[in-house]
Amino acid sequence: MDTFLMTYQSFTTPTKLLHKLIERYNVPNHLDLEEREFEKLKKAVKLRVCTVLKVWIKRHFKDFSQRLLREVYDFINTSLPTDGLLQMAKMLRAEISKHLDGKEDMTQVGMTQTEMDPKVPKNIFSPKLSIFDIDEEELARQQTLIEFRIYSKIQPTELLNLAWSKPHLKHRAPNVMELISKFNILSRWVTTCIVTTKKIRDRVKMFQRFIKLGECFRAINNFNGLMAILSGLNDSSVYRLKFTREEIPRRDKTTLQDLDTLMSTESSYKVYRETLSKSAICVPYLGVFLTDLTFIEEGNRDYLANLINFSKRKLICDVIFSVQRFQRNSYSIRPVHQIITLFEKLDPLSTQKCYELSLEIEPRGKERADIL
């Protein structure tokens, strides 16, 4: 039932499902059963329908629009009392009002841990505060908080039917889209910072800061943030900066290599998958889930001989369960609004522009002595 309620929207709508349930509730006497037998069957079916409805409301309350909720109320208030299911009606109404009061949203875990004091610089209240005044560790923590907030809001329906990759379904996956957008801004910002640093000595330092930031993301299991840093550093406009890379101290180079290996596409992210499976509180790299979903969606038919291919839904559900597994445990990080605002305001250059700048700072065919 879990799998069904999680994925039914890939082939039908909540309204249709409710109508089908109500239809099922009104059992017809198809089988010409004796009166007594039929009564028994009818009662069992009705109870089962109510149970499904209850689980549906409990676990997927977001599926119910105002209008649909009114239909549910109608059903509860008219059909159930007629059949003497007063207790059940009461339970269902209680379940709904619980959600309407927003009590169910309070189930966040993780706040029990004591929050550490944030590491902030002395000029934290200064209007001139720059992102580079702040320790990488704290930067990583605050960005992680931003990303986790979005990640934890991702709904199962956003992950159905490859909604995020289809222009006409994009609106169905708002949180997935937002997380991707944050990812790309962070990644482009990393590239921008490197190529806009004119002197090679400063550029090497900048590079080292980002390796450190990546390391800090790794330390708190923010694989999404880590991947964004790596993709920024592996962008062609940074990757081609041969002299800059050569001057990075060996220790940092090794760290970067280790991080690259962790997030490598090799064997379908084997190393990363193993690391993730051992993590408790984390922000997973969403892309791997999206690739898995793509292969499941494209590799299996929706219908088999006119029947819904439920095995496919089961596979999709396994991925959604993995996404949800990491939504439950939230970080105990104290937000620092000044830093969060700095991240929200990042305004990196375009990939094209970055490449042009890259060619300016280390032109093709030049020797080390020619570089600033």
Partner: protein, 204 residues
């Protein structure tokens, strides 16, 4: 499989706009019966395929990040050490064809110079919705001097051939350079043991 220990392992990557059918091509190539196979699960190893060519077994390690097109992750690390790139567009989608130039640029910036390419137009099963003529595809490929083929991941038409052509192009190129010393590190040979390990996916 007598020749396995001598066989080559090539790293191929597939790129193209989302919904161009990259994953379908790979799925089709890995297992012609994938659609009816209910037990199909995403295994870590399923992107290893072996191809028999003139009594020689060539291992193909295929990288595909379908589903991640909106992420800015197709970067140098992805192209590093690639032997071949398959650029896929959808013959019914003008936008996906427009991006072909962009992909060629990316490859020239990021992939090693020795890399071989093939341009693939997918979805020939949708002939009535075709927007990109075969000629346009061919011209685009010719101007970049790389092979071209149209396929249908849905029917399976030409899918295997596309991979074979890419491998042929690689063989051809490596022959030309045979007298020159290889710049790249010695190509990874597959031992019997590691081949079996990598081959346990349910695809071939």
């Amino acid at each position: 499989m007598s020749n396995v220990s001598d066989s080559l392992l090539l790293k191929l990557i597939i790129i193209g706009r989302s919904m161009a059918g990259k994953s379908c091509i790979l799925l089709r190539f890995c297992d012609n019966k994938f659609e009816s196979n209910l037990g199909f699960t995403i295994g870590v190893d399923f992107r290893f395929v072996s191809l028999n060519k003139n009594d020689e077994t060539i291992g193909l390690q295929i990288w595909d990040t379908a589903g991640q097109e909106r992420f800015r992750t197709i970067t140098s690390s992805y192209y590093r050490d690639a032997d071949g790139v398959m650029i896929v567009y959808d013959i019914t989608d003008e936008n996906s064809f427009d991006q072909v130039d962009h992909w060629f640029d990316e490859i020239s910036k990021q992939a090693p110079p020795s890399v071989v390419k093939i341009l693939v137009g997918n979805k020939t099963d949708l002939e009535n919705k075709r927007k990109i003529s075969t000629e346009r595809g061919l011209n685009a490929a010719n101007s970049r001097s790389c092979p071209f083929i149209e396929v249908s991941a849905k029917s399976g038409e030409n899918v295997k051939k596309a991979f074979e052509m890419l491998v042929d192009a690689w063989t051809e190129k490596s022959k030309q350079h045979i007298t020159k010393p290889r710049k790249k590190k010695a190509r990874q040979k597959i031992t019997n043991e590691s081949f079996e390990k990598k081959d346990k996916g349910n695809c071939c």
